[in-house]
Symmetry: C2
Subunit: 415 residues, 2 copies
């Protein structure tokens, strides 16, 4: 099945917000072997909406529309859709009730524009929105399905997971799809591609390999598609084992996961605890760990000793060390990691210290100079980095490499 | 001038990565009064690239293409572009030198696919890429300008800022554009729209008002466009003053800024210091502050007392308080904020504690229950929230409302 994603709203075209919805939808639809033929962002005008619905229906069987259902007055989506489908808008009592209770629960006065959230296309199937006031709508026209959803990401995701996927699953019973994912780290995309070139060239047309790279990790996803479930399952697993063998020095996980979720699972499994001592990453490392459910099982907490004073106060970093080597040095990184591990009685501790920029650089320590230390059960490992990017990218690279180093020490100490 | 943004690459269409480039480009081009007529994401195929370049040239004068210039083998962009422009690819020595030194600096072996990064369109103006190996290319055809850039965000931004904007600035000298932005907080989008409806209706066609909302803050941007700079400047400032007066209880800043940058500027200006004690936000609050240059001026550092043990150890929260009221309570939030302020000798301290979910909820404290406390120079204020979203949204709402509370106490204590 072919699908197209249309994002409605000037806010996208004038760059007010980033469209995170389309990627999420695309990634989810892949699991149903639905190919996205195009993603289009259009303005909040009747002409653009009408014409794009029309042209999309020529390319795709399933048209997913997000945005243009908010309360502010510039939303013409519903009226244009009514015109496109040759129907009208009716106020749905069940939705109105939901909207009303939504406002009552928050002790908020309800305005007319809020009541209008309960106006839906007369010929639609309402996709009830538990998380917000704008309901989703499913309309079928000439064997094409149109699904309208609010643009607020967690509301859209809720509607897709609870209302839309079950409908799609029913329709794609005939073809069997199997995915296998491998998480690798410590190797660049071009080297990885070179490393597995021959295996990739061997792939039959029924199996696709996708690279899902981040700044320090790459997820490799094999997607097999066939009418024979047994065959494709076996074949995908065969190529997965080839990749696992070839990449054994880089493989972190042989299933679909993130480095953060993987580390939390491993630490939990081994009954290990972790703390973080972040100077240059400023809390983003802990934030990326605690974004995962279950992180409290292994993460006792962390510190952000941004100033030298707090490096001493929180982690017992020696003043002489700071004076002699500076805050951005291997010695300071080591004392931060060791201090954090000892102070908070954990099995592992990560420490980051560096110059994220744009200021703070010097001749011998230019912007992008970073030291990471990881203290484990038996030893402390350190690594120096010289990044050459803007502040946010330097922080993100530091965060990811810190997680990579933690993983490396973890498997080393397992042996 | 009209522009269109084309994002090339299967990785977008199959949802491997989120397209953050298009929004950033759109937001930047607004300042040059360049309207984005459409954003399109297409696959990495000759047919799609060729046809989309063609159709875009019918809609826009400036076509910005990102992606499809990476080292991995599936990139057909340059060859297709050569065909489209009726030219060939030549290996540029200057770029090759740059690529080579790029790899030497990192002690990395250079592969043939890396050398191919130096192949450029024979008829292009090279947009030199200081941050990466793939150069940008500018090609003019039939009064239309095509700009090819790598998809890596910080490389693309670097090329836009250093190479493209200067070119654009020259071309848009005739029309004068003036923007004024206001940052407001503590009011929902629909209420804000209602509050300023009459002012918005008064706006002349030469002035546009844009809402730039986040979960707890809204930036209002007035954009005036005219051939007479004096008039439009005066008129935009007139409407800005009307909005400032009407919204005086919600206005945080009368210029374009983020809440984080604003607070850092205010704290720096007043010589104040801040610390954070994050349980449920897990470091994201500190991360959002330290993402800003200059944050070290006011942020001495923070703690992430995820476990009850660390709440006691780091912030001297009383065991009796945790036993009697629980970790997620007003009393604990107060002791965390007061403890952080006292322990780290700062003027202000923010504390967050809550149940982000999906687990950990109970009958009297369901998932989404959050307490925030802010300790200031004279007093401690607290607020309870009952969010109803998934883990990440609950964390983000907590983070933003914590910043809002800090702002409220700051202006209260200024009076």
């Amino acid at each position: 099945m072919k699908a197209e994603i249309i994002t409605i709203g000037d806010e996208i075209l004038i760059g007010q917000i980033i469209d995170t919805n389309s990627s999420w939808i695309a990634q989810q639809l892949r699991k149903f072997e639905i190919d996205i033929v195009q993603m289009t962002s259009i303005p909040d005008t009747e002409e653009a909406i009408f014409n794009t619905l029309k042209s999309a229906s020529a390319r795709a069987d399933l048209i997913l529309i997000t945005g243009g259902l908010g309360p502010t007055k510039d939303d013409v989506t519903k009226n244009t859709a009514a015109k496109y489908f040759g129907t009208t808008l009716i106020r749905d009592e069940k939705v109105l009730q939901h909207v009303t209770s939504f406002f009552e629960a928050r002790n908020l006065e309800m305005l007319e524009i809020n009541k209008q959230q309960a106006d839906v296309l007369a010929n639609c199937e309402i996709l009830f929105n538990d998380y917000g006031t704008a309901p989703g709508m499913l309309v079928s026209k000439e064997q094409k399905n149109y699904i309208f959803m609010p643009g607020v990401p967690f509301e859209m995701k809720h509607l897709m997971e609870k209302r839309v996927f079950p409908l799609i699953a029913q329709q794609s019973k005939d073809i069997f799809i199997h995915h296998e994912t491998i998480l690798v780290g410590g190797i660049g995309e071009s080297y990885l591609a070179e490393e597995i070139k021959d295996i990739e060239d061997e792939l039959p047309s029924t199996i696709k390999l996708a690279y899902l790279p981040t700044l320090a990790f790459i997820r490799l996803r094999l997607s097999g598609k066939s009418k024979n479930s047994a065959d494709i399952l076996q074949e995908v697993k065969l190529f997965k084992s080839k990749l696992l063998h070839r990449l054994k020095n880089y493989v972190i996980a042989d299933y679909d996961t993130s480095i953060e979720a993987f580390l939390i699972k491993e630490f939990t499994h081994q009954g290990l605890t972790l703390t973080t001592a972040e100077s240059c990453t400023g809390g983003s490392l802990a934030a990326s760990l605690t974004a995962n459910p279950g992180s409290s099982e292994i993460f006792v907490g962390g510190t952000i000793p941004y100033s030298n004073r707090l490096k001493q106060q929180l982690l017992a970093v020696k003043e002489t060390t700071l004076d002699q080597f500076g805050a951005v040095s291997e010695q300071t990184a080591i004392e931060m990691a060791a201090g954090a591990k000892a102070t908070f009685s954990t099995d592992y501790a990560i420490a980051t210290t560096g110059i994220a920029g744009p200021g703070g650089g010097s001749a011998d320590k230019p912007v992008g100079t970073v030291w990471i230390a990881v203290a484990g059960k038996k030893e402390i490992i350190t690594k120096k980095f010289q990044f050459n990017n803007d502040r946010l990218v330097n922080i993100e690279r530091t965060r990811m490499n810190a997680l990579l180093l933690l993983w490396k020490l973890l498997i080393k100490e397992e042996e």
